[in-house]
């Protein structure tokens, strides 16, 4: 590692590294969403993470939701966490607070039932957040190494150019980070159907190969159960017109963003990877669920590679209505030279590889620089853009509801 690969972050009590200082206001269930908004309103750095957890989910979905919410609170980018509940929440606010508090960060739990009434909960919550805002403003970034970084990688709005420019550039960043002892998480199990052969040969541990194959097969079965054939429908007519010929060619394009590193592990949505290296998070390709999953897995940053077309021409993020999750700053990469005029919505323009103006190593070096800068506090494009709406984040739901 060279000196220039250092980053500046906030060292947390558990040894992890925050690259942002979010005061997270976390409802245990959707009934406390409004309470979270009222507590966070007007407090600098406070973010109310509204989500869809109801009382109607069952069994494993509730377990995964509890894991996810606890993971969000444990994310190093959360400096302090206010957990809110009604008191009758299916995912217990007290349990969440306990799981988050083991990181050593400031945690407060308030339920309407324990406090006595809604207005008192708002008052207590706001006062606590204001004190935490003051404390967080005194924290200073310190020198850290890239081993402290956990990076999510995602592609979307993909076209033929994604596989040629953005995704290979992301892949080189992934390989460099993994080689230096960092952590990388890729996901979108649905996109791996047909790409099994590309991934299995990269997992030296047979147990990891087994779990990866089981995750992909279970995903395919869930899709088939809806009457859709995930193999026969890919590539789509639009993909074929764009130049993609086979299912494995399309899948390869997405897999390229994971570089060529060995795959060290597989973990379910809501959980976190065990140790550094490259890991698969088992989750379908639904953006809000994915972003929550990456943040819950402890990722501090995400690289999002976009091909081109309409998905490149919106300032926010495809698949969400407002853009980023403050817990997970996102670095956007654009590939298609035809959409170069929309490059202002992106952090890195990779289309130069296709125009002949830059080599793949040059573009990936630029992306590496963006990752280090974002990890050291420079706002990404999405962070500097003010979105007018509020996102209610969708939790993963696999089973039936009551």
């Amino acid at each position: 590692m060279t000196d220039t690969d250092a980053i500046l972050g906030y060292r947390r009590a558990d040894g992890s590294l925050g690259v942002r200082n979010v005061l997270l206001v976390l409802p245990a269930g959707q009934c406390a969403n409004a309470l979270a908004l009222q507590c966070a309103e007007g407090v600098a750095g406070a973010f109310a993470l509204l989500h869809t957890q109801p009382c109607a989910h069952l069994g494993e979905d509730n377990t995964a939701a509890a894991n996810c919410l606890a993971g969000l609170g444990r994310n190093p980018n959360a400096a302090a966490v206010l957990v809110l509940g009604m008191g009758c929440d299916v995912v217990s606010a007290e349990d969440l607070a306990q799981r988050i508090a083991t990181t050593g960060k400031p945690v407060r739990c308030l339920t309407v039932e324990a406090v006595g009434d809604w207005e008192s909960a708002v008052h207590l919550g706001r006062s606590w957040l204001e004190r935490q805002a003051d404390a967080a403003s005194r924290l200073r970034r310190e020198r850290a190494t890239i081993q402290d970084l956990s990076l999510g990688v995602k592609c979307g709005g993909s076209d033929a150019t994604s596989a040629l420019a953005g995704n290979p550039a992301v892949g080189r960043v992934v390989d460099r980070l993994v080689e230096m002892g960092g952590t990388v998480v890729f996901s979108e199990t649905t996109e791996l159907i047909g790409a099994e052969h590309l991934l299995l040969e990269r997992a030296p541990d047979p147990r990891v190969r087994g779990r990866m194959l089981a995750s992909i097969r279970a995903t395919e079965e869930r899709i088939r159960a809806t009457g859709v054939d995930p193999r026969g429908t890919q590539p789509t007519p639009g993909n074929i017109a764009g130049g993609l010929s086979t299912l494995e060619e399309k899948s390869l394009g997405g897999v390229l963003k994971t570089g060529s590193s060995s795959i060290s592990g597989v973990f379910p949505w809501g959980d976190a990877p065990q140790g550094p290296g490259l890991h698969l998070m088992d989750c379908p390709a639904n953006v809000p669920q994915l972003l929550l999953g990456w943040a819950a897995a402890g990722c501090q940053l995400l690289v999002f590679s976009v091909g081109g077309g309409l998905p490149a021409r919106i300032p926010s993020l495809i698949g969400t209505n407002v853009g980023p999750l403050p817990l997970l700053p996102i670095i956007k990469v654009l590939s298609n030279p035809n959409d170069k005029d929309a490059a202002c919505f992106f952090d890195v323009y990779a289309g130069e590889i296709l125009e002949g103006g830059a080599s793949l190593p040059q573009v990936s070096a630029k992306l590496w620089g963006s990752v280090l800068e974002a990890a050291s506090g420079t706002p990404t494009y999405l962070e500097s853009y003010c979105f007018p709406a509020v996102q209610v984040w969708e939790l993963l739901l696999r089973g039936p509801t009551v």
Partner: protein
């Protein structure tokens, strides 16, 4: 006025195909480059091929595996001559 020679990007050395950076007509020369923008020679297109579609950079036997970016993306359903368009008419999935 002649137009610029279209480049064909060879993602990994040894790939059977290049991806065209622009549309080419039959008989037109394509300049092959690698991802470092280093020249890898030329190939003459045998077909009219759209931008971002694939062109064979060498002879591919019938039933032979076709590699792109170092990975197998399917097999040739017929013998493919250098400079031919490689797409659904001569490349089939080995996974479906």
């Amino acid at each position: 006025m002649g137009r610029d020679v279209v480049r064909g990007l060879v993602m990994c050395h040894g790939d059977a195909v290049a991806v065209l950076m622009g549309e080419v007509r039959a008989g037109e020369e394509v300049a092959l480059v690698d991802t470092n923008q280093q020249a890898l020679g030329t190939v003459v297109a045998r077909d009219r091929v759209d931008a971002f579609h694939k062109l064979a950079v060498r002879h591919i036997d019938a039933e032979g595996s076709i590699t792109k970016a170092g990975s197998v993306i399917g097999k040739a359903s017929q013998a493919i001559a250098p400079g031919s368009h490689v797409h659904v008419h001569n490349l089939t999935s080995a996974r479906v």
